[in-house]
């Protein structure tokens, strides 16, 4: 049994490694193989994996995790402004500050459980957002977002070309450096920033996996199953939940720091409740409590936001041009409400469809497909390869 799980973990890890490394090739046919979106996939993947450590394992539903992402972003941009354009100090500070922030909010909020906990985290995050948007404008630049300026000190860096803002980098590699390769008619874009995010995603996915399989992870699952019983047996659960909360807060902060490193601007909106809600949706959509699910969920939501929203009537028309004229117009009229400015509608329908037909999230869909293939070809091995057994929700 134990051996089997190890085996599955190896499969899981290799799957994520292949997915991340080959993303430019895999995503190019979907129209998503450009640096910005690939970076977002990886960053929100990290955010969702971290959130899942709290929600998937302990069942504590935080509705304020975007605050940690925002705090991470602000810390990183301030590092760029004051210290250096190297992303390492920025990301380290982002993780530390968001960890401290999570410690304070977690310590207070975890005094309550269930919905009361959710609303406490929501309240803290909304306060942070409202203050960042208005009162704290000197620190956060409010509505316009905190960005670099020509007269920032950047004490560690050599002077830059006059009149130009520097780019975040990592020892001579710049986050916006991109190599383009032509591959059977597709342009594959290999971007430095994306691989920084991707490698971090692999590393942090591995950390999450270790947490899931550790005694600590077991304890967190026990809290989800029956906290009262644990308390009766004399276990103080609070340190465990608090640790999970802080770890997931640091994941969020790291995601925020990475976001600022890929694109050095921190806007207050990334702390709003809708952003907190988004990560909740990502995890549930993918499959809460599973390892790969949150990454999938993050990918689907970001794909809709960035690709579906860009399909205007012109684009839709070009899909159906091969049809007779009347039919083209008809098809455009049918598709029109679901893409372009109607992309929210498609997203809403996907949410409903997934939860109705795939109760365990997208990962359940993947499992079913793999299971079907397994049965179809009579091989028992493939039956288990997709996802490590996870507790049913």
């Amino acid at each position: 049994m134990l051996n089997n799980i190890r085996n599955n973990d190896t499969v899981l890890m290799s799957l994520i490694v292949v997915m991340v490394l080959a993303a430019p090739l895999l995503l190019a046919p979907l129209g998503a193989g450009y640096p910005d979106l690939m970076q977002r996939f990886a960053i929100f993947g990290i955010f969702a994996v971290g959130f899942n450590i709290l929600f998937g394992l302990t069942g504590y539903l935080s509705f304020g995790h975007a605050a940690f992402l925002g705090v991470g972003s602000y810390s990183a941009v301030w590092m760029f402004k004051l210290l250096s354009m190297n992303i390492i100090p920025a990301i380290i500070l982002a993780v530390i500050i968001s960890g401290l922030f999570a410690l304070i909010i977690g310590y207070v909020s975890l005094r309550r459980s269930g919905i009361y906990f959710s609303i406490l985290t929501l309240a803290f995050a909304q306060m942070s957002f409202n203050l960042a948007y208005s009162v704290l404008t000197p620190i956060t630049a409010g509505e316009t977002g905190l960005q670099l300026a020509l007269d920032d000190p950047r004490i560690l860096d050599a002077p830059y070309e006059a009149g130009q803002l520097p780019t975040p980098g990592l020892f001579g590699l710049y986050m916006n450096d991109t190599w383009t390769v032509n591959f059977i008619g597709m342009e594959l874009q290999f971007n430095v920033g994306y691989y920084v995010c991707g490698l971090l995603l692999i590393a942090l996915f591995y950390v999450a996996l270790r947490i899931f399989r550790s005694p600590f992870g077991m304890m967190l699952r026990a809290i989800k199953t029956n906290q009262t019983r644990l308390n009766y047996t004399g276990v103080n659960t609070r340190p465990y939940t608090l640790a999970a909360f802080v770890i997931s807060g640091m994941y969020a902060g790291l995601a925020g720091g990475l976001m600022a490193s890929m694109d050095p601007l921190a806007g207050a909106e990334r702390m709003q409740w809708t952003a907190s809600g988004e990560v909740v949706l990502m995890v549930i959509l993918g499959g809460a409590g599973t390892l790969l699910g949150p990454v999938l969920g993050a990918g689907v939501i970001k794909y809709f936001e960035n690709i579906f929203s860009r399909m205007n009537d012109q684009v839709v028309e070009s899909w159906f041009l091969w049809m007779p004229e009347g039919l083209t117009e008809f098809m455009v009229a049918i598709v029109h409400p679901f893409v372009g400015k109607g992309w929210h509608l498609s997203l809403g329908l996907i949410f409903m469809a997934v939860v109705i037909f795939l109760p365990g999230g997208l990962i359940e869909g993947a499992n079913r497909i793999i299971g079907w293939i397994g049965r179809r070809f009579g091989s028992k091995k493939t039956d288990k390869s997709g996802e490590a057994p996870a507790p049913a929700e």
Partner: protein, 451 residues
């Protein structure tokens, strides 16, 4: 798409750790012929792609939709379709309806969601994926500033859409960014004399201000210019952005000795605060022997519709209005109205004009290179685009032109006929020095051609 590594970073960071060799690209793709022309997204010989980044969801979605209509119209006219719109009335006759520099104009669209993050993501997709050479659009200053900075870093031109905060061409100005729309300072400078003529010199003003960047600059501009003519500012109160019910902010006005209420609100905030103010009977009040008055510094006709009859008789300013009678405006309204069946908004107008101005600058410069475009636009004087003689000032990339002071119409004849023009404030009255305190800080930097 950027066909090779972004060189700028390498050049700039030459001093850093001597890792240049590492970042040198080892292979090129030969996909685009223009790949080696020394700037980001150099267009091929056939077509050129522009990025229209407008709000398609969220509170400004209708404004964004109107901007998009204007962009589609502009593309049509640039490519020689339709009736040509303002092309014939435009003082520069460089554009001839064959696209830009002989290349057919194509476009991609995106949703800013009126959030700086989403707007930047959308703009980056246009630059990285679609090879857009210019980004334009937006319906708020936060988004404009964020996308402008992005375009500066990426090395493409940004032609701002609707953005009214001083900061866009003030402390957050960028060499690659240009704004045709007017700003808070101009609103204040244009409104003050009209307010003086109508309401007198001796007034007590109470400001309600949206608690974010645009609100701050608008309040400062209106306060400064009204105080200069003798008004007294009784109180200034900040209101949260998400507020939908302003009763708690309006009620204290009743108990102050203010006789003018200035609502530094835009969009939904403006609709709600104005509706609330009228509900509280402010306009029926007599304070200090004078009629109580309300002022809305920045009007949006589209949004004013949401306030219904409440806008009647209320002064404000706009960048442009469809009832203007100059040749350019008439041509644009005819062209837009024939295609869509209703008159264009000021957002649509500024977006249309920005597209034409960009195309014209490229045509005159003879190159898509952003630095050449910047040079062609800086100090450019033109006319015939609906606002009278206009100057794109080189120092801050702000357009200087006449500003409209408008008033909510008492007897509208149609659902579009909400505002009437009270005065066209001449450009000389709204011009300020580039180093004016309200625009202090920040620097343009130098133009960035990217790759």
């Amino acid at each position: 798409m950027s066909d090779q590594t972004t060189r700028r970073g390498v050049l700039k960071g030459g001093a850093a750790l001597g890792a240049t060799a590492l970042a040198t690209p080892t292979f090129f793709s030969g996909a685009h012929a223009g790949g080696h022309s020394g700037f980001t997204n150099a267009p091929g010989p056939e077509s050129v792609t522009l990025g229209f980044n407008v709000p398609q969801s969220g509170p400004y979605a209708d404004e964004g939709a109107d901007e998009l209509r204007a962009y589609e119209l502009a593309v049509e006219h640039l490519n020689g379709g339709g009736d040509g719109g303002m092309l014939p009335t435009f003082s520069s006759q460089a554009l001839d309806g064959t696209g830009i520099l002989g290349r057919k104009v194509e476009y991609v669209t995106g949703d800013t969601q009126t959030k700086s993050d989403a707007a930047r993501a959308s703009a980056r997709a246009m630059i990285e994926k679609d090879g857009a050479i210019m980004i334009t659009g937006g319906s708020s200053s936060g988004v404009a500033v964020a996308v402008q900075a992005l375009c500066q870093d990426a090395g493409v031109i940004f032609m701002a859409g609707l953005t009214h905060s001083n900061d866009t061409t003030g402390k957050d100005k960028r060499a690659n960014g240009f704004r045709h729309f007017f700003n808070s300072y101009m609103s204040g400078a244009a409104l003050a004399p009209v307010l003086e003529a109508n309401y007198g010199k001796d007034r007590n003003a109470y400001h309600l201000t949206a608690d974010y960047n645009w609100g701050y600059t608008t309040e400062e501009a209106v306060r400064t210019s009204t105080e200069a003519m003798g008004w007294n500012t009784v109180n200034t109160v900040l209101t949260p952005l998400a507020e939908t019910d302003f009763s708690a902010y309006i009620a204290p006005v009743l108990n102050s000795d203010a006789d003018v209420l200035v609502l530094n609100h835009y969009g939904g905030n403006m609709v709600n605060s104005l509706t609330n103010a009228v509900q509280f009977g402010l306009r029926d009040r007599i304070v200090n022997g004078k009629n109580f008055e309300i002022v809305v510094p920045l009007y949006s006709r589209l949004m004013a519709k949401g306030a219904g009859a409440n806008v009647k008789g209320i002064f404000g300013s706009t960048n442009w209005h469809w009832s203007l009678q100059d040749e350019g405006s008439k041509a644009f309204v005819r062209s837009f109205g024939t295609k869509y069946g209703f008159p264009p908004s000021q957002a649509a107008h500024t977006c249309y004009v920005q597209t034409l101005l960009y195309a014209d600058a490229v045509q005159r410069a003879g190159s898509f290179n952003p630095c050449a475009v910047v040079e062609a636009l800086e100090g450019f004087e033109f006319d015939g685009l609906g606002n009278g003689p206009t100057l794109y000032r080189a120092e801050d990339h702000q357009c200087f032109k006449d500003v409209l002071v408008v008033k909510g119409k008492e007897n509208p004849t149609s659902e579009f006929d909400l505002l009437e023009i009270v005065e066209i404030t001449p450009v000389s009255q709204v011009t300020y020095a580039p180093d004016h305190p309200q625009f202090a800080g920040g620097a343009l930097g130098t133009c960035n051609p990217g790759a």
